[in-house]
Point group: C2
Chain length 416, copies 2
């Protein structure tokens, strides 16, 4: 293990060493090149406003939004480096450089792969190689922003990068790119509408096939199938979160998944799921009862639907995120309910583990002004003492008000 | 946003404030309590060997293995704290404390939830609250290990925890718990065998339903359905990685997922998938051709099968990880092929984004001695200049040799 990893973009496992991949066209980009260029310009404007000369992007959603890169490779260290002039650099594991060549819009001399012995090796860190690459590209003494609070930027990654760039001035730029993503383009909204059609179909399947006593995993199998099949016009991509489908007491907890137990009568089962098309999400939740729901749940349903109406009445450009939270909680309180957690968050392009964009939250203290093109997963849900109810919607802010991106009938799903 | 978050385990959104959940039994644990106690003892022995008095576990796989905690909540900060005497503490978002009460073996006074305004709030970090909790439990001046290179332990989390524990001595304990997981118990092996049955069924479905020109996402829909349905004896859980299913040139890259394009003739499509039961994985890959494969791929198949036989011949307790890598690559070289990336890694219990355990790798330089009960995803795969071939197996080290956990026929899958 003495090799120094300095070969950029090393082709992997080639017979005879030929590397024609670099000469071939990429798979179809999800967006026009002009749109990528506009995104890059927006990010650079934010960088300049924060005094940054380079940005290291580890969030796979941000990497994809900026470059088109798409692959399940975020379990190893990888990044996109944005400077103020040259096109972005894609940097990652050598074998994933092939995936970058297939998916990014930059020319292939901006793609750099590190050697495989650096993968999950406690004796060396790939970020050391990234530091060398950044130095080669003139960022050795730059003001560098990093995504300090991101899943894919570990404490060890930060330590190795910082040690490798001793003359750079490194600061926190968590959320910089995410905020540039807050207002969706028409092309992004078109993808999210397709995701909305997909999740509508997924909920239709639940209402159609769920039966009392059916094993929960068998119902999830149908949900997953419907999600990947998609609709006539839109193939289904994988959502960034798997279906959350708890019943009864397990539905007092919002984030349990499923097992092989039968779906019971007399208690709620909620389904928090999303349709996904080309990595763009439309989450939506519904709650299922076999038999007439207990009165308490009918009251909760009434309260949530009234609060939802209040929010939709308040949602328009110029209103603040916290205004929607206030409209929601004040209505809910009139019905005798309380929800302490945030009532929504921004959604769009995502990779696991979260379909939220981690920018705006619909909660007290968030004074972000709504703008046309913002999209929120609005979360009317209550986790009661013996179960839970979720009736959530993905909501697009339009020029004058707001609209839903999915078309599932409102309210509880009740089957005999 | 002035509230100080000091209420441990705050019940969320209760009508009238009653919290009977704490008094109710948890969902069935995946393992006997004695097994959890043995795991804890093993971790404490490693802690003492490294001079650690407390351990902060952020890896959801490690959290689940130690405590039973199961929920898709790892997109917010959460942890398990292990000291040398008291039972572990579960700490996470307030609403997820309900999920902890449903899934962990510890008593509920060891479950602590933080308030929701700390979620994804750039002005405050929940790790500050964890530092206070740890101080309350006597770890304020302890030798504390953290998982410095983990997806779910960001650079910002480390900074906030370090600042909150100024008198503690914090050091890197990445992999400490993972290494304790290397040798599986009989109960764990039983779950992995069930996962093996599930992945066998998933590959059977691929061979049955795949047709030339079928949209890739429609085939993935069937794969996902089969994976969640599981088998008669085992319900299907979600694998930590979604199906990777590239065709043709996209199969020169190992980690691309799928889209809506038709599955083409004349080029390989590989399927890297896993069966999963109660979070335990059995990955396995196969490669599909419609029509007779080009000679080069038949040669690659022959080489991989010979190399696989060499590895299975060498796999036994006492052999080293690198011995298997050497058996593999020397055989492959005799056939004129080369694979530079590692040829396998340890697998078991996992959450996204990786089904690997991030401990042993089958590669040069890894001198870990094989022991009965270790399980590897053995990765005979070649990414050639115009496509890829993967024929991989999950392999259990037995008392005398090794065996496969899945039962899919070997070699290329060829359909008319």
């Amino acid at each position: 293990m003495t090799t120094k990893p300095r070969t950029p973009s090393a082709p992997m496992a080639l017979q005879g060493g030929s590397a024609p991949a670099a000469a071939l066209p990429s798979s179809a980009l999800a967006f026009a090149r002009t749109e990528y260029h506009e995104r890059l310009a927006a990010v650079r404007a934010s960088m300049e406003a924060q005094g940054l000369e380079a940005l290291v992007i580890s969030d796979p959603s941000n990497m994809a939004w900026l470059t088109g890169y798409d692959g399940w490779s975020f379990y190893v260290h990888q990044a996109v480096v944005v400077g103020l002039k040259a096109d972005p650099l894609w940097w990652g594991r050598g074998m994933d450089a092939a995936g970058a060549r297939r998916t990014v819009w930059m020319s292939h001399d901006h793609i750099f792969g590190y050697e495989d012995w650096l993968v999950q090796n406690p004796e060396a860190h790939p970020m050391t190689v990234l530091a060398e690459l950044m130095t080669d590209w003139g960022h050795g003494q730059a003001a560098v922003g990093v995504e300090l609070d991101n899943y894919y930027y570990s404490a060890a990654a930060h330590r190795a990068l910082t040690e490798g760039l001793p003359e750079a001035e490194i600061s926190d730029a968590t959320g910089l790119v995410n905020w540039c993503r807050a207002v969706k383009s028409p092309a992004e909204i078109a993808y999210m509408r397709r995701a909305g059609e997909i999740v509508t179909e997924m909920h239709r399947v639940i209402a159609e096939v769920a039966e009392p006593g059916m094993q929960k995993n068998a119902l999830v199998a149908e949900i997953l199938k419907a999600g990947a099949l998609g609709t006539r016009g839109a193939w289904g991509d994988y959502p960034a979160i798997v279906p959350m489908t708890p019943s009864g007491m397990d539905a007092t907890a919002p984030h349990l998944t499923w097992d092989g137990a039968p779906i019971p009568r007399g208690v709620p089962t909620f389904f928090e799921i999303a349709g996904c098309h080309r990595r763009y999400h439309c989450p939506q939740s519904r709650t299922l009862f076999f038999g007439e729901p207990p009165k308490k749940y009918r009251q909760a349903e009434e309260a949530l639907m009234a609060a939802t109406a209040a929010v939709m009445g308040a949602a328009r450009p110029g209103a603040l995120c916290e205004d929607l939270a206030r409209a929601f909680s004040s209505t809910l309180e009139r019905y005798g309910f309380r929800k302490e957690s945030r009532t929504g968050y921004s959604v769009g392009l995502s990779y696991p583990p979260d379909w939220g964009e981690r920018t705006m939250s619909l909660r007290a203290g968030d004074t972000t002004e709504l703008q046309p093109g913002m999209v929120f997963h609005f979360m009317p849900g209550l986790w009661l003492d013996d179960g839970g109810i979720e009736l959530t919607e993905t909501m697009l802010i339009t020029e004058v008000s707001a609209e839903y991106l999915a078309n599932t009938p409102p309210g509880l799903v009740v089957k005999p």
